[in-house]
């Protein structure tokens, strides 16, 4: 027996966390997302999602994040200015009870005999995080019952309600909502259970939905023409939030509707204060929805920023071309592949009047040009 033992650090034995670089990481509720950002969301950090145009997929990601928190008995703080946070909680998905269903196709693959020349090659992993045991998969058709949520430690913060007289006298921000939210977060984060030095520790999952939506930015747009002060409150808020969360056991999960911003370059300022960021580009409503190339997917997934916290080396994602699809029981992020063959075509290209010409060239015509 070896006399050398690795001592496990009992300080971080919080449920639903894993230790990496001496820092606890939590799951986002989507194993494939955890995989592409380096094993999960680091505590004491900000994670931003640039919303898709309709905001439907970013909303689903928020639900996964919160549902994972409920399962792991983490504390939740939900803030929104657009809709009542209590309603967000009502539709949290339930964890899949039988993960074995997903494992069946893999078993079949193992039984298949592989030609000798391909045996030495590594397994191609187009679907990320499928073998991960960290985090859960959720069934969007089933909701967590209200009793479980009531028993959980959930704090709601609806910013657009009417009890704001005490906050309107502040001098830090043009829009009092930023100040109100900061105050509430500071109050909850300063609790001893969310400090790294405490013995009875827990994780605080902070979800802020649609930060920077027209409700937040209305005052910035009042000034005509829109001057350099546009979005300054938002930049300042995110920096302050970064400072408040630093070295605590809280994780902020923020969705930002960046497509609504007046200034395209504004997002690059925001990203400096954020630790990790991704962008969702949904096909819904765009011409790509009907494009056969993307028929297997619901949208593209971009990783825009990955920070190295407590280490020098930032995580390098396995691929930069990623797409996602939303199934009932899974949100999957995959390496973007073209389908094996798009569609059947006739042997001679010039005979195929249904084929779309690659580029506009001499003599090229499109199907839509034929009127009868």
């Amino acid at each position: 027996m070896s006399s050398f033992h690795k001592t496990s650090d009992s300080r971080y034995s919080i449920i639903g966390t894993k230790l990496k670089n001496n820092l606890p990481f939590i799951s986002s509720g989507i194993p494939s997302l955890d995989h592409i950002i380096g094993g999960g969301l680091p505590t004491g950090a900000l994670f931003a999602i640039e919303e898709d145009v309709l905001g439907s997929y970013s909303r689903v990601l928020t639900k996964y994040f919160l549902a994972e928190g409920i399962i792991c008995k983490h504390a939740l703080f939900i803030a929104s200015a657009d809709e009542d946070p209590c309603e967000i909680v009502n539709e949290l998905p339930q964890a899949c009870t039988d993960p074995a269903i997903d494992a069946v196709p893999n078993d079949r693959n193992v039984e298949m005999k592989i030609a000798w020349r391909y045996e030495g090659l590594g397994q191609v992993e187009s679907s990320f995080g499928s073998n991960s045991t960290f985090g859960h998969n959720f069934d969007l058709s089933k909701h967590i019952d209200k009793e479980t949520i009531q028993k959980s430690d959930v704090t709601y913060c609806f910013l657009n309600d009417d009890n704001n007289i005490e906050f309107e006298k502040q001098i830090g921000f043009k829009n009092y909502m930023f100040y109100k939210l900061l105050m509430k977060i500071k109050d909850i984060v300063s609790k001893s259970e969310f400090q790294t030095s405490n013995k009875n520790k827990n994780i605080l999952r902070i979800s802020i939905q649609s930060l920077g939506s027209p409700v937040w930015m209305a005052l910035d747009c009042d000034v005509e023409p829109v001057d350099s002060s546009y979005g300054q409150d938002l930049i300042k808020f995110l920096y302050c939030l970064r400072v408040i969360l630093k070295d605590t056991l809280a994780v902020a999960f923020i969705t930002i509707p960046s497509h609504l911003f007046d200034d395209d370059l504004f997002m690059s300022r925001i990203l400096y204060s954020v630790d990790n960021a991704v962008r969702i580009e949904s096909f819904a409503g765009s011409s790509r929805e009907t494009n056969p190339v993307y028929s297997d997917y619901h949208g593209l997934f971009h990783v825009t920023k990955l920070s190295a916290i407590y280490t020098l080396v930032p995580f390098v994602p396995p691929s930069l071309d990623m797409a996602f699809k939303l199934r009932r029981k899974k949100f999957v992020i995959e390496k973007l592949h073209l389908p094996p063959e798009l569609q059947e075509s006739s042997e001679r290209e010039q005979d195929d009047i249904t084929a779309v010409p690659k580029t506009v060239s001499c003599g090229g015509f499109r199907k839509k040009d034929i009127e009868f």
């Binding site: 990203l271 204060s273 407590y310």
Partner: protein, 248 residues
């Protein structure tokens, strides 16, 4: 593994005058590895440092330092390293509905440097995120003034070094203006940039060194065209390796 950076910056040589280094982070690249390397050099040579922190926490530098074989907290306990967390002070004041002026920030910095000066001959200063001062809604003029004051403060002391880290969000932004203003006052400018083609497992990014301060040195007095030096850098857990372009 930090020797590449230390040699390139020439901070291992004895200098009679103080030097200003400006680090420009372009296209979202993180330059904190330079701070970690430089801190390691200071700790090992027992040089006093004041870290003015706005971006990363001291815990971050401590954890990185442990992997690079030095203990920052021991230095803090010994008084060799002093940390001034501007971000924390700013947010505390903001939530109390009070305003923290840049003048009072500078006064605190000056006080800390002077205190350390009593004990150590030279005091090095590291500012890890000048651009966050703009995020705190201070204007370009005030930020430029406070940086000039810090530069003047460090120049008073012989052989002291000042590192100013500045993030450039994009070329049309105020962060770009501030970084350019600082570059004019620098002895050496380090531009750290991500690979334009995306991430790579072999190389972490580009490092370009420019020498605006050399035109005042005797050796380079008559050379009109001071060419920048370009490197590729690769980050490891325990340090950084610099590579010549084309050698990967």
């Amino acid at each position: 593994m930090s020797s590449d950076i230390i040699t390139t910056l020439e901070i291992d040589k004895e200098n009679s005058s103080s030097k200003i280094f400006v680090v420009k982070e372009i296209s979202g690249c993180d330059s904190s590895f330079i701070i970690s390397c430089v801190l390691g050099h200071f700790v090992k040579n027992r040089s006093a440092v004041l870290i003015i922190s706005t971006h990363n926490s001291i815990k971050h530098y401590q954890n990185v330092g442990l992997k690079m074989n030095y203990n920052l907290i021991k230095g803090v306990d010994a008084g060799l390293i002093n940390v001034y967390d501007v971000g924390n002070e700013y947010v505390d004041k903001l939530l109390k509905n009070e305003h923290l002026s840049l003048d009072s920030i500078f006064e605190s910095i000056k006080e800390k440097v002077e205190q350390m000066q009593h004990k150590y001959d030279m005091v090095n200063v590291i500012v890890d995120g000048i651009s966050h001062l703009l995020n705190m809604q201070y204007n370009v003029r005030d930020v430029n003034t406070v940086c000039s004051n810090i530069i003047d403060l460090v120049r008073c002391y012989k052989n002291s070094l000042l590192f100013l880290h500045c993030n450039v969000a994009n070329e049309l932004d105020v962060t770009h203006v501030v970084s350019n203003l600082l570059c004019h006052k620098a002895h050496m400018v380090l531009e750290v940039e991500n690979l334009t083609s995306g991430w790579s497992a072999d190389v972490s990014g580009h490092l370009t060194l420019k020498y605006p301060g050399r035109k005042f040195e005797d050796e380079y007095m008559f050379s009109m065209d001071l060419k920048p030096t370009q490197y590729l850098f690769k980050l490891f857990d325990r340090g950084v390796k610099l590579l010549a372009p084309g050698t990967v």
